[in-house]
């Protein structure tokens, strides 16, 4: 299209008319979608209602609850996650690791925020140790009550988020090599335990009942660290800075290297 001054008024009118038509079409389309989705929602609710009123069929719950004494833990959810469906949990840790690798491969982390004021810094120095303590408690309590590696890892990740919001660009995480090692720790320990059991003749991730508790605790401890590091590093949103040079390259304001060690 050539833009000659004499026709620009007509063009503008045409553009406005086209935009109005497009907006109208979009509105019609979203209305149509709303109607269709309402119908789908009603159908889903009906199916759900029927499923609830159906006579109770065979469920996994009885089997799962019945075998809990042989799993080494007393919390049935932990038994499902770390014993019956340990494969799922291993793959889930792998998904988390893959997401983190994806984030790291997209480039260096954006600059941190400005440093916190005195009040926020004081609050952070109270809250972060408490979060780490709570994470340890969550990890241990997962054996017999709601809790476990994911909850504990989420608390550690939250501690990292708070530290970064308070102005530490690395979210309190250790250096690049330690971060890489910690983030694969969950998958590594999980897979090694599985392979060791396979080698001993029990089958991949089939724990002998006498050792199950300690193996699960070992796996969960490693998974907690890995999940916490992965969540905090995902919040940082980029490859950890190796050398000051790369920080300078990404270099907006506020990116300053500082001693890490909070949060660990």
């Amino acid at each position: 299209m050539t833009k000659d001054p004499g026709r620009s008024g007509a063009d503008a009118r045409n553009d406005a008319a086209a935009a109005a038509r497009a907006a109208e079409r979009d509105r019609d389309l979203s209305l149509l979608l709303a109607v269709l989705l309402t119908l789908i929602g009603i159908a889903l609710l009906g199916i759900y209602w029927l499923a609830l009123n159906e006579a109770e069929g065979p469920r996994l719950a009885d089997l799962a609850l019945g075998l809990v004494p042989r799993t080494g833990v007393d919390n049935p959810v932990t038994a499902v996650l770390l014993n019956y469906r340990a494969y799922d949990t291993l793959m889930e840790l792998a998904v988390l690791l893959a997401a983190l690798l994806g984030i790291w491969s997209l480039g260096p982390a954006p600059a941190g925020f400005q440093r916190s004021g005195r009040a926020l810094a004081a609050m952070v120095s109270w809250v972060v140790p408490l979060l780490i303590l709570a994470a340890g408690y969550m990890l241990w309590v997962g054996g017999y009550a709601p809790g476990g590696a994911f909850q504990a890892g989420a608390l550690l990740g939250a501690a990292g988020v708070i530290v970064r919001l308070a102005g530490d660009p690395s979210a309190g995480l250790p250096g690049e090599h330690a971060q890489r090692a910690l983030s694969v720790l969950g998958v590594l320990v999980f897979a090694l335990v599985g392979l060791a059991l396979l080698w001993l003749g029990d089958g991949f991730l089939t724990y002998p009942p006498s050792l199950a508790k300690w193996l699960i605790l070992l796996i969960e401890s490693a998974a907690t660290l890995a999940i916490g590091v992965a969540l905090a590093a995902a919040y940082v949103g980029g490859r950890p800075a190796t050398a000051p040079a790369s920080t300078l390259a990404s270099g907006k304001a506020g990116a300053r290297t500082e001693p890490t060690g909070e949060g660990n």
Binding site: L29, S30, L33, A34, L37, T38, I40, G41, L44, L45, Y48, W49, A51, L52, N53, E56, R59, L60, A61, A64, L65, P76, V77, A79, V80, L81, R85, D88, T89, E92, V95, L96, A98, A99, L100, G102, I103, L106, G107, P110, G148, F150, I227, A230, L231, A234, Y235, G237, G238
Partner: protein, 98 residues
């Protein structure tokens, strides 16, 4: 039964609302939020399905699935947000160069 239907029904409503928002709104951030709302709806349904009456303990299998799903949803969201951020940076660079 009533509370169970209500809890799961809210999940269905959240799922449909999220799906609508995902289809209608163009900005990536809104799509990511909509996907998360859809996921929350699914979690609601799974938790409601685990209920087996006041006397029996809840079914642990759907609970474990929800726990798994939350972590996968969080990591997928983080990856999507990073992608979105990079796309925005690229758009900005493009207009700066032109």
């Amino acid at each position: 039964m009533g509370a169970q239907f209500l809890f799961g029904g809210v999940g269905v409503v959240l799922f449909v609302l999220g799906l609508w928002s995902f289809l209608v709104h163009a900005p990536l951030l809104r799509k990511v939020i909509a996907l998360n709302i859809m996921g929350s709806g699914v979690f609601h349904v799974l938790i409601a399905v685990a209920y087996r009456g006041d006397t029996a303990p809840p079914d642990p299998v759907p609970h474990a699935l929800v726990l798994t799903g939350i972590v996968v949803a969080v990591s997928a969201t983080a990856l999507a947000l990073t992608f979105g951020g990079r796309l925005m940076d690229m758009d900005k660079d493009g207009t700066d160069d032109a």
